[in-house]
């Protein structure tokens, strides 16, 4: 058993009785509002006037355990895995647990954010404590009723047991009494070997609603008197609104109003179809207010930035100039990726009702607190007057970190003084910005006569990319002389975080480049990396911000599971990456089918510490691999005169079922506290695939999407 420190137990845990009796505990864990149609209980019903809680676990006398889930759920499966952690320590009967999506409430919850694969590592211990505390209070209540020592009672599957006298009581029967027990200042957490839920494959708590088509998503929100709205925005980045003629649009049946604000022309009406039709009847003129950039401009800009003298130094170890001067061999290569759209299947949308007495917001957002704050500023009202209810998110991939569409909805509702649901069409979504930035890297490696990498240089150039390097990641720490720099071009094209920001492409470029270096050093690619890790371990250079042994662990496991280098007729490529606190190594198997190289299988070895939900975790890794593969292979967003040239799935390609190889997932079982999985499986995939295709074809793929590269033609 693990002892838990007593500090701040009181501040972190509060207790109250529910209106109808029963135990309720608050604990620090994020929450969001009940989705419009699915939830039975709401925060207010649970809170019974006491608003000082952080989050809630309640047990009703009829033995239903309700666990509030505070974080936005977008497919990362947090709505299932968080309650599992609470239920584990509570020793709850999982079949009697009801999960309720909570609303934004900064008084109750911390970090109500989905992003950075951060929720599980942030909340792991506090969720366990919440469950364990309630369990202890239930045991106390039972011991008191039975007049026995609390040390002689135990729990199992939602019951408190006194084995000596063969007595048992359900949590529901004990809930009211337990609510009167003092909150313990110390609780013991389970030993991992006693876990009954954690590590099991538990099905998604929203399965029934999803497979029967119940309203769950922002786009499904409907409120009495609500109007539908679409917005015509400038057709290119770098343009602004000049004039609007809305006469024809206003004449379309069902249109209630056409409103202009900022650079937006909003059409509001009684149905989605009619407002979209009216939008097509708008006559809008725009004028340039900035440069209207094209992809050809970016290609030129990249070359200038990589050749230029100006760059920001991100890390410098040793003396690279001397190392490269003395090198027996120097390898140089450049890698480039395009802009990408996030394209979650549910396009952007939000419901807003701005009334004199307050503001009601409902919809899909990864950062509800920031969105509410921004709306408060925009409308010049106190955040406390704004409620924000979270729906399930139909995907996010980083796009819904940005609340631009929430602000649009709120501003529009405040202007027309009616509740509205703003809908972005797929075309709005794909042409509307916040893209994964386009980036080009130049790598240089210096080898000595023995094939040791004695020098390493990376310069990253990006369009609105911020720093497109991760200067403290591998191979930093393993190379004596190292220089990492970045340089950025500021553009009117808007960019943002895209699943595994920066590393979604950097990992590919780096891992493909290291494959080139290993080849030049005449070393096995895995052996080459292991040697670097050994060097970092025995003679580290500068700060090392990743765990060498954990990285080595996934490398070894991937090699073993993929039968590395021992398969006849299979060309294998290797890649490993550390991101968002987790370690993932991958081996791609390429075979020749009908004379063409085909990706047959990808083996993934993952160290995310303890696996909370095996079903969710397995799929999270598989989905990440498919995401990484699909975008490396197919997806491409280009610009002409400031406008995106792709607008929908007919000209922007996403991976489909037939293009997906088998994906095997292997988890390291090391008992370390869990880290996130929403992102870490994606970054290594492109590198493993490119390196395997190189083995099969002898051609290096350095630019994405691969499908457009001449190296893949005629093979």
């Amino acid at each position: 058993m693990t002892d838990i420190s007593t500090t701040s137990r009181r501040s972190f845990m509060k207790l109250a009785a529910t209106a109808g009796g029963g135990l309720m505990l608050g604990f620090s864990w994020t929450s969001t509002l009940a989705s419009t149609a699915m939830e039975v209980l709401t925060d207010t019903q649970l809170a019974s006037g006491n608003i000082n809680f952080n989050s809630y676990l309640s047990i009703s006398p009829d033995n239903i355990i309700t666990i509030l889930s505070p974080n936005p759920e977008l497919g990362q499966n947090i709505k299932t895995s968080f309650p599992m952690i609470v239920a584990e320590e509570l020793d709850a009967d999982w079949t009697k647990v009801k999960v309720v999506q909570a609303a934004l409430d900064t008084n109750k919850f911390e970090r109500q954010v989905t992003g950075g694969s951060g929720a599980v590592p942030h909340s792991w211990e506090r969720l366990r404590k919440a469950g364990a505390t309630a369990r202890h209070m239930l045991m106390e209540a039972a011991a008191k009723r039975w007049k026995v020592s609390v040390d002689t009672v135990s729990t199992e599957n939602g019951m408190v047991l006194h084995k000596a006298s063969n007595r048992k009581l359900s949590y529901g029967e004990l809930a009211t009494e337990a609510s009167k027990v003092a909150v313990p200042t110390e609780v013991k957490l389970k030993d991992q070997k006693d876990f009954k839920l954690i590590g099991k494959a538990i099905r998604n708590v929203d399965n029934y609603e999803m497979i029967t088509g119940k309203p769950l998503y922002g786009l499904d929100v409907y409120k009495e008197g609500m109007l539908y709205a679409v917005i015509q925005r400038p057709k290119a980045f770098g343009m602004k609104l000049k004039s609007v003629d809305a006469a024809a649009a206003k004449a379309v049946p069902g249109v209630v109003d056409v409103v202009t604000f900022k650079n937006n022309v909003a059409v509001v009406g009684t149905s989605t179809w009619q407002v979209n039709k009216a939008r097509k009847a708008l006559k809008v003129e725009y004028e340039a207010e900035g440069t209207l950039e094209s992809s050809a401009d970016h290609d030129r800009i990249f070359k200038e930035l990589l050749a230029g003298k100006e760059a920001t130094e991100r890390r410098k170890d040793g003396d690279v100039d001397t190392a490269f001067k003395n090198a027996a061999k120097v390898i140089t290569a450049e890698y480039q990726c395009p802009f990408l759209s996030h394209s979650p299947m549910e396009p952007m949308n939000f419901f807003a009702d701005v009334r004199p007495d307050g503001v009601e917001l409902i919809g899909p957002i990864q950062t509800p607190e920031r969105a509410r704050g921004d709306v408060a500023k925009l409308l010049n009202i106190a955040p406390e007057k704004i409620t924000l209810e979270l729906t399930r998110l139909g995907g996010g991939f980083g796009r819904r970190l940005y609340g631009d569409y929430v602000l649009e909805a709120a501003e529009l509702s405040s202007i027309i003084k009616k509740p509205i649901k703003l809908i972005w069409t797929r075309e709005d979504d794909m042409t509307g910005g916040t893209y994964r930035p386009a980036v080009r890297y130049r790598f240089e490696a210096a080898l000595d006569k023995k094939g040791n990498m004695i020098g390493y240089k990376l310069r990253g150039a990006g369009i609105n990319s911020g720093n497109p390097t991760r200067e403290d990641n591998f191979p930093s720490g393993a190379v004596e002389n190292l220089l990492i720099e970045s340089v950025e071009h500021k553009s009117p094209i808007t960019t943002g975080a895209w699943r595994a920001p920066i590393t979604n492409f950097l990992a590919f470029a780096e891992q493909a480049f290291l494959d080139e270096v290993a080849q030049a050093a005449k070393k096995d690619p895995i052996q080459f990396r292991l040697e670097l890790l050994d060097k970092a371990k025995t003679a580290p250079v500068g700060a090392i911000k990743y765990d060498l042994d954990r990285m080595k662990g996934v490398i070894t496991l991937a090699a073993e599971k993929a039968n590395w280098g021992k398969k006849k007729g299979v060309s294998q490529g290797f890649s490993v990456y550390f991101s968002h606190r987790s370690y993932v190594a991958q081996v791609a198997d390429v075979v020749m089918k009908d004379g063409k190289p085909t990706i047959d299988r990808i083996h993934a070895a993952v160290d995310c510490g303890i696996v909370v939900n095996l079903s969710g975790a397995y799929q999270q890794v598989r989905g990440g691999v498919i995401d990484g593969l699909g975008h490396a292979m197919y997806s491409n967003l280009t610009f002409k005169a400031g406008a995106a040239e792709q607008s929908n799935f007919n000209n922007y390609r996403l991976i489909r079922m037939k293009e997906v190889p088998e994906v095997d997932v292997h988890f390291i079982n090391n008992g370390i506290d869990p880290t996130g999985l929403g992102e870490p499986a994606l970054p290594p995939t492109g590198g493993a695939v490119a390196n395997a295709l190189f083995k099969a074809t002898g051609k290096r793929l350095r630019n994405q999407p691969f499908i457009n590269q001449p190296e893949l033609k005629n093979v």
């Binding site: 999803m210 029967t212 149905s271 299947m345 809908i423 989905g623 079922m657």
Partner: protein
């Protein structure tokens, strides 16, 4: 505007809409059947798939005027007498969904496919399901669930 009588999930509905309104938006905005999803609006992603006279149909490009005399089934109508369709059961058992947004369309495509080909090969499943995009990448589980449902339907 014109009034259309529609037969959906064994019930009669009426909608007063423009004749060119896609069935998708009639279902969602007029009838409150929001299980059918909007994904692309141009019949590329399959999120809006419904059955029209038993055939899979992209409701985002299917005008209501064409649906007037048809028998329509949406995701809300797959359950019979409170029992989930074998395909829905398989989706739960295999735990297919991540974000879940595309899954209604996937299920409608799969049910229509299995009603015509109850004993498919893996390649046939992939061909049938290839028109439906899942951005989360649940393709392996979709394939597995379709295969599992086929064994239950036989």
């Amino acid at each position: 505007m014109a009034k259309y009588k529609l037969q959906i999930n064994g019930r009669a509905y009426e909608a007063d809409v423009e004749p060119d309104t896609p069935l998708l938006w009639v279902l969602r905005d007029n009838l409150g059947l929001v299980g059918t999803k909007y994904g692309c609006g141009i019949a590329q992603c399959g999120a809006c798939t419904v059955h029209v006279n038993g055939n899979p149909m992209r409701s985002c490009v299917y005008p209501v005027s064409a649906a007037a005399n048809a028998t329509i089934t949406t995701i809300e109508g797959l359950e019979t007498n409170g029992k989930l369709h074998a395909v829905q059961q398989a989706w739960d058992k295999v735990d297919v969904a991540q974000c879940g947004y595309c899954q209604a369309g996937q299920i409608m495509t799969a049910t229509a496919f299995l009603s015509k080909n109850p004993n498919p090969t893996e390649a046939e499943i992939e061909t049938a399901m290839n028109g439906n995009i899942c951005r989360c990448g649940t393709y392996h589980r979709i394939r597995e669930a379709v295969a599992l449902a086929a064994t239950k339907l036989n």
